[in-house]
């Protein structure tokens, strides 16, 4: 005689079944990861009816779970899908989602661990691994830049008035990227194509996009850029290496002098040129509204 489960046990059991990866035919697997028949697992807590077995009923939720996550994930990474090719993308996506199910109340955060996961699991990216990694970073940066906070910006005068030991914050929507390919143009194209196609018919990047990617020949070239938001639209702004290094240091919480030191580290740039560059950068960043006071803890990312 089976002991009835309490609510928490039942929910844990059902969640494990619902999140069990689907078969290649997108059906519920016949056995769970412990090798137990799913007919048995389902019958333990689900009542059949005259048309559906307990297995059938559980399978509806199992399929729904995966279809919902797959569709959200595919929508966030259309360029990655095109780079690794749709078939490989399916297995990449399913393996990633099995390793990193959603830990947030919103599907917006579904791809938050993808960069780290793909870096540790290169076989899922295939021969264009380095490009796939770049594209993943750019696409995730777009998610962050789209709706991260925009705090009150500091004017150039306010920045100039700060003491030497002051810390400067960077707007949370500003995303800094160091890439090995100039992948930004390509991702932008893919996203524009997706936008066009989803407003016309389907929601997935179509065949024409996949063909365009097959012809794509990108050469490696160290690329630094920022993805940021202005007037609710996303912009890609190319950065120089010292500019990127300075911004990255500021983001990590260093003081201004430390950030500048980090910015020019490893680069032979004469002091007067450095001064001119720094002036130019700060004017530019202040105009873009990128600088703010450092974030309180809950916002810091």
């Amino acid at each position: 005689m089976i002991q009835p489960m309490n609510l928490e046990q039942l929910q844990r059991t059902m969640a494990a079944a619902v999140m069990l990866p689907l078969t290649a035919d997108e059906l519920m697997q016949p056995t769970n990861s412990a090798g137990r028949p799913m007919t048995e697992v389902a019958a333990e807590f689900i009542q059949p009816n005259s048309r559906l077995t307990a297995f059938d009923r559980l399978e509806i939720y199992n399929r729904q779970y995966w279809f919902r996550l797959q569709s959200a994930f595919t929508e966030d990474f259309p360029a990655l899908r095109a780079v690794v090719d749709p078939a490989r993308f399916e297995s990449l996506m399913n393996a990633y989602l099995a390793a990193h199910p959603s830990r947030s109340f919103t599907l917006r955060n579904l791809g938050s661990s993808l960069h780290a996961w793909l870096t540790a699991n290169p076989r899922f990216a295939g021969p264009r691994f380095a490009l796939a990694i770049d594209v993943t970073q750019v696409e995730w940066a777009c998610v962050e830049a789209f709706d991260n906070a925009e705090l009150t910006p500091l004017s150039l005068a306010a920045v100039a008035a700060l003491g030497a030991d002051s810390q400067l914050g960077l707007q949370p929507h500003v995303q800094l990227l160091a890439l090995s390919y100039p992948a930004d143009d390509f991702v932008l194209q893919m996203h524009q194509r997706q936008k066009r196609e989803s407003s016309e018919a389907g929601t997935r990047t179509g065949d024409s996009a996949i063909h365009a990617v097959k012809r794509l020949r990108l050469s490696k070239k160290a690329t630094w850029l920022a993805i940021h938001r202005a007037d609710d639209s996303l912009y890609y702004k190319p950065l120089t290496r010292p500019e990127y290094q300075t911004l990255a240091a500021l983001r990590s919480g260093t003081t201004l002098p430390e950030a500048l030191q980090a910015g020019f580290a490893g680069l032979r740039i004469a002091a007067p040129r450095q001064v001119a560059l720094v002036q130019q950068w700060f004017t530019n960043w202040a105009e873009l509204g990128w600088l703010c006071t450092p974030l309180p803890e809950p916002f810091a990312s």
């Binding site: 928490e8 929910q11 807590f45 509806i60 729904q64 109340f105």
Partner: protein, 291 residues
């Protein structure tokens, strides 16, 4: 309208769910929709276009929040970050009441993003009611719980779905968002008479009604919100209005979203049950569907 303490004594008429593909039409045509329901989670963000669009909508329309991830029936405590963000949004929208589902969907910090059904047990009654109370106290506005469509029933269940709903709302002292499409879907999937459900709910607690379309498969119905409302669902709606009085009514259309005008025309069909009957033809129409 049936204004009561569960909808903050508001008299909202017929509204539709706010969907992104309709933004342009709404801003350029300013249609005379009485109110919009927003999915809270879409706006629980720190900035950007979602909030800007919401503010523009709020300049011209009444907005009510509807959530999809509070999971009142989850056996564990709600996520504090979720509650904090939800309260921030409540302050922004000044939503008179807020709804979410009588279901569960997360365990041990992992989210299914689905509205999973609950076993209708006394343990689930107690836990769910306690959680609704906690959320209601934290948000400081009336909360309404919505009955979900379900595809599975549990061996442990000790009562019917409507008995379960009634026990929960009584103990939580909260409102009901009565989804008559969900009642219909579940009635087919679980072989009960949907009118028994509508007849059993405490009418005085109904804060709002949902209407929607669904997809019928050979062996079950899926709650897809991608079709017009079918006639048997209108009949349940008519009965609900008969019992509750004219109640804030909202059409949900979430997939294969047609033009704004089509969605709005479908929603406005509800008006024939809400307005006092004026012509003999209208009397005849309602006589044909009233139960």
């Amino acid at each position: 309208m049936a204004a009561n303490r569960f909808n903050a004594f508001q008299t909202h008429g017929v509204g539709i769910g706010l969907r992104i593909p309709h933004y342009d039409h709404i801003f350029s045509h300013k249609p005379a929709v009485d109110w919009f329901e927003i999915i809270s989670e879409n706006y629980m963000v720190d900035g950007g276009r979602p909030l800007r669009m919401l503010d523009r909508i709020m300049d011209q329309y009444k907005v009510v929040q509807h959530g999809v991830s509070m999971y009142f029936g989850s056996s564990q405590a709600p996520d504090r970050e979720h509650l904090r963000r939800l309260k921030t949004l409540v302050r922004r929208t000044r939503t008179p009441w807020l709804s979410d589902h009588l279901c569960w969907g997360s365990i041990d910090g992992t989210y299914s993003h689905d509205l999973l059904p609950l076993p209708y047990t006394w343990e689930a009654v107690e836990k769910t009611a306690a959680r609704i109370r906690l959320v209601q106290d934290f948000l400081e506005i009336p909360v309404a719980v919505e009955n979900v469509s379900s595809y599975a029933a549990f061996t442990d269940s000790q009562m019917t779905e409507w008995e379960f709903l009634n026990e929960v709302v009584e103990r939580a002292d909260c409102g009901i968002l009565l989804d008559v499409n969900n009642i219909y879907v579940s009635s087919v999937n679980h072989d009960f008479d949907p009118i028994d459900y509508v007849n059993a709910i405490p009418a005085e607690r109904v804060a709002q009604i949902h209407i929607a379309g669904h997809t019928r498969y050979e062996k079950y119905i899926l709650d897809t919100h991608d079709h017009p409302v079918i006639e048997p669902v209108w009949q349940l709606y008519a009965r609900a209005i008969e019992r509750c009085g004219p109640t804030p009514t909202l059409l949900e259309w979430d997939d294969l979203i047609p033009t704004f005008d089509e969605v709005w025309a479908e929603a406005r069909k509800a008006e024939r049950y809400l307005k006092p009957l004026e012509t003999p033809a209208e009397h005849q129409l309602l006589a044909g569907v009233a139960l």
